[in-house]
């Protein structure tokens, strides 16, 4: 349980900034092919934007954006996406994580590899974001009633 910040300036500014941080995070993930960045960095940014809301707006307001129950399942889901892309490549007739043989029609192997990198980075991003949030929520939870 995180206490809501008392300052109205902090609350409004962080609520204003959070969507821009999330937009930049999506840019970092999606533009990882051409510029520094990728799943880890974008996921950390996404997680940080939610943590900002958790700290300033409080639990009630920030759970409108990201519910606490979603943290741990989503982090598993991110890893699952990564592993599933590998299995998908096996279904397409290649080796595990060999994106060149992903079963999507009408694309050259080079394009398939580019797509595979994007899919994998998305999985990493979701996993990192959810893990950061889940650890924060576990650490700040108060179920210790003794």
């Amino acid at each position: 349980m995180v206490q809501k910040s008392n300052s109205i300036i902090v609350g409004i500014v962080s609520r204003f900034m959070a969507p821009f941080i999330q937009l930049f995070a999506l840019y970092v993930i999606a533009h990882g092919h051409y510029s520094p960045g990728g799943g880890f960095q974008g996921g950390a940014l996404l997680g940080a934007s939610i943590l900002l809301l958790r700290l300033t707006v409080g639990d009630k307001g920030s759970e409108l954006v990201f519910k606490k129950e979603f943290g741990t399942p989503l982090s598993g889901f991110g890893v699952f996406i990564y592993a599933a892309v590998g299995v998908l490549a096996m279904i397409g007739g290649g080796l595990y994580l060999d994106y060149g043989s992903l079963p999507f029609a009408g694309m050259t192997p080079a394009e398939l590899r580019s797509l595979g990198i994007l899919l994998v980075e998305t999985g990493v991003g979701i996993g990192v974001m959810a893990t950061v949030i889940a650890i924060f929520d576990d650490l700040t939870m108060r179920h210790f009633r003794d």
Partner: protein, 102 residues
Amino acid sequence: MKLLSYILLISFGLILVYAANELPTRGDPNAPINRDSSLAGTPGATAHYIRNAEKDMKTPNVVTTILADYRGYDTLGETTVIFCAGIVVFLILRKQKDGSKV
């Protein structure tokens, strides 16, 4: 005792600085890491990646190609490690709501 640790730290630091003088400059084509073949005669990895990354997967960022494709298993392991960290914190800290011991 404190003085001894300072002397040890400073001497190790001096050894590191002395060793860093001998490092090859960045992008040196004659450095062992950048050669076409290693000392044992096997083909070098770096030159292969830089030459083929854009052709193989239409991605100009060589770091991304190595991270996500050439070294895909490694990144899968990294993601799993982060997931494990989250799960461990979950298992240690989270208790059930009715107060029963987990």
